[in-house]
């Protein structure tokens, strides 16, 4: 494996802790990743040395804090291949970034009957904002179905895209791990004059990201899944789009001028960043990007493919027909997210038994209830892997899983 996971683990202080007297086996990075020492230090360092409000102070401290925030923006822009730093809008998380697009671009550009196309495997963050616009503005929400192998069913794409104004798709499914054909969808969207939005929440942490190569117009992702702090997310959009979009929240920081009669907006990206921003969090995200660059995103992905392959082989060999792992079977076509069902035991019970061995997996609908319905279940157990996981974590999962039999299999 390309990554030296022992060295990587040493970077993550939480890996030293025990759970119920056992080593922590953390397999829930699709929910949130752990934070390496440099990220924790960057946040602490910010508060210890630079803390002050940004974009307003004329004193040295405020200048340095502003520089730290804008430096983080630069790092994120470079990380995803943005043409300009000003194309990076900081938000609270991916959810807010998607809502920003729905509330600003969507409100200004969509009307009754205007088609917005999403897929059956979306996270609620890329469903509910569109349901809200359906209720408020009467947009026509359309769904690209999925096939039983976990890939999108594009056989009826032409009809679904007919007249579309926006296509919004997760780059990687947080349940199935499926890597979606974003470039192909973006090209198809552009062919019919629609814009392309990508929910890259499960992509940016794991694969080298190039927004231009994706062919996207909007890309949303979230800091806490990519070694960064909570409370910071990103919307990338093409400059022309950001320029033309109305503002999102109103308040300080986002204005150029305010009078009794009205206001004018600041330049992008600040136009979309009302109020005091999450400065320490942005600085932490900048450090996270540095950390991932240090590992090398190619290596991160190589590690993920190898470990996913090992996990699929191990679980299938050990449990055969007793385990069903959803999503693509080829590691190259998927991320390191394994949703599975084991012997018909309810995922909540599976997760409870695994917890006893220090193995953290998620049980539930993973904020993708429409997908659960398509899969024909109310919930799955989900193990998801990241840079600090290795084969021993997969082995721990495989060992602990069998212990559920004691309670649930007669």
């Amino acid at each position: 494996m390309a990554l030296d996971t022992a060295a990587v683990r040493a970077d993550f202080p939480i890996m030293c802790r025990e759970v119920h007297g056992r080593r922590l086996v953390y397999l829930d990075s699709a929910a949130t990743s752990h934070k390496p020492r440099p990220v924790i230090d960057a946040v602490t360092d910010y508060y210890e040395r630079f803390n002050s409000n940004v974009h307003r102070g004329s004193y040295q401290l405020a200048v340095e804090a502003t520089e730290a925030l804008e430096e983080a923006r630069r790092k994120v822009a470079n990380f995803i291949g943005a043409a300009r730093d000003s194309e990076i809008v900081f938000a609270k998380n991916a959810t807010e970034a998607i809502n920003l697009v729905a509330r600003t671009w969507g409100r200004a550009n969509l009307g009754p009957g205007d088609p917005v196309v999403i897929t059956e495997l979306e996270h609620h963050a890329n469903i509910v904002p569109w349901h809200m616009l359906t209720a408020e503005q009467g947009i026509d929400l359309r769904w690209i179905p999925i096939r039983s192998d976990g890939h999108l069913d594009l056989s009826d794409l032409d009809r679904l895209l007919d007249g579309a104004r926006l296509v919004s798709v997760a780059a990687v499914s947080n349940v199935l791990g499926t890597i979606n054909p974003i470039r192909q969808l973006a090209d198809a969207a552009h062919d019919v004059g629609a814009l392309m939005m990508v929910d890259a929440s499960q992509y940016t942490p794991h694969l080298p990201t190039d927004v231009a190569a994706m062919g996207a117009d909007f890309v949303a992702f979230t800091g806490h899944k990519m070694c960064g702090p909570t409370g910071i997310g990103v919307l990338w959009a093409k400059s022309e789009l950001l320029e033309a979009m109305p503002p999102f929240l109103g308040g300080g920081e986002m204005i150029l001028n305010v009078t009794k009669e009205g206001f004018s907006t600041a330049a992008v990206p600040w136009k979309f960043e009302a109020g005091t921003p999450p400065i320490a969090e942005a600085v932490g995200l900048g450090a996270a990007v540095d950390y991932l660059n240090g590992l090398g995103m190619e290596q991160v992905r190589e590690h993920e493919v190898a470990l996913t392959g090992y996990a699929l082989r191990t679980l299938n060999q050990r449990y055969g027909d007793d385990i069903t792992i959803h999503g693509p079977t080829e590691p190259a076509e998927r991320g390191g997210v394994l949703s599975f069902e084991y012997k018909g035991i309810h995922p909540h019970d599976v997760a409870q038994v695994l917890d006893r061995s220090g193995v953290c997996v998620r049980a539930g609908h993973h904020c993708a209830k429409p997908l659960m319905r398509v899969l024909g279940c109310a919930a799955t157990s989900r193990a998801s892997m990241y840079v600090y996981n290795d084969e021993s974590d997969v082995d721990a999962l495989a060992d602990a899983l069998g212990e559920a039999d004691v309670f649930f299999i007669e």
Partner: protein, 156 residues
């Protein structure tokens, strides 16, 4: 960590494997209510038929973990044939066993003291308190039943 054996008592697993009163009732005369646990996606459907203040029949359906299914099964066995007043006493006694504050929206038991109520098999769910995330699994069916009974009484 508390032992899993405290959570997964034999009697709970028995109700889980061999649920009592699983199924549907015709609506009307029965009333149907659905409960969701937004955290884990569990769904409980309760059918209840109330006449003259008595729970004449009850069935449950839906999908859920061993705790939520066993809780539904035990609850249905405990309240079938009881009066609505007795149900309220059970509900209070159960909630206090789960260490939950009485819900101000729930009707208070009108007579009798819920502390005196014998929960029977339901006592086995006591261990759930040691696993706080699972408390919602155990109480979902009770919430849903309360809702269904309120509806049934409003209808009549």
């Amino acid at each position: 960590m508390p032992d899993l054996e405290d959570l997964y008592r034999e009697i709970i697993l028995d109700h889980y494997r061999n649920p009592r009163n699983r199924g549907e009732l015709e609506t009307p005369p029965a009333v149907r209510a659905e409960g969701f646990n937004p955290l884990c996606g569990d769904e409980v459907i309760i059918y209840v038929q109330v006449a003259d203040g008595v729970i004449e029949d009850i069935k449950f359906g839906g999908q859920g973990c061993s705790i939520s299914q066993a809780s539904s099964s035990m609850m249905s066995a405990a309240v079938k044939g009881r009066t609505v007043e007795e149900l309220q006493q059970f509900n209070h006694a159960f909630r206090s066993m789960m260490s939950i504050e009485p819900d101000p929206d729930d009707p208070a038991p009108t007579n009798g003291n819920s502390a005196d109520v014998k929960l029977g098999d339901l006592e086995a769910l006591k261990g759930v308190v040691k696993f706080p995330v699972r408390i919602k699994c155990a109480t979902l069916s009770w919430h849903t039943l309360t809702q269904a009974v309120e509806e049934a009484q409003a209808d009549s």
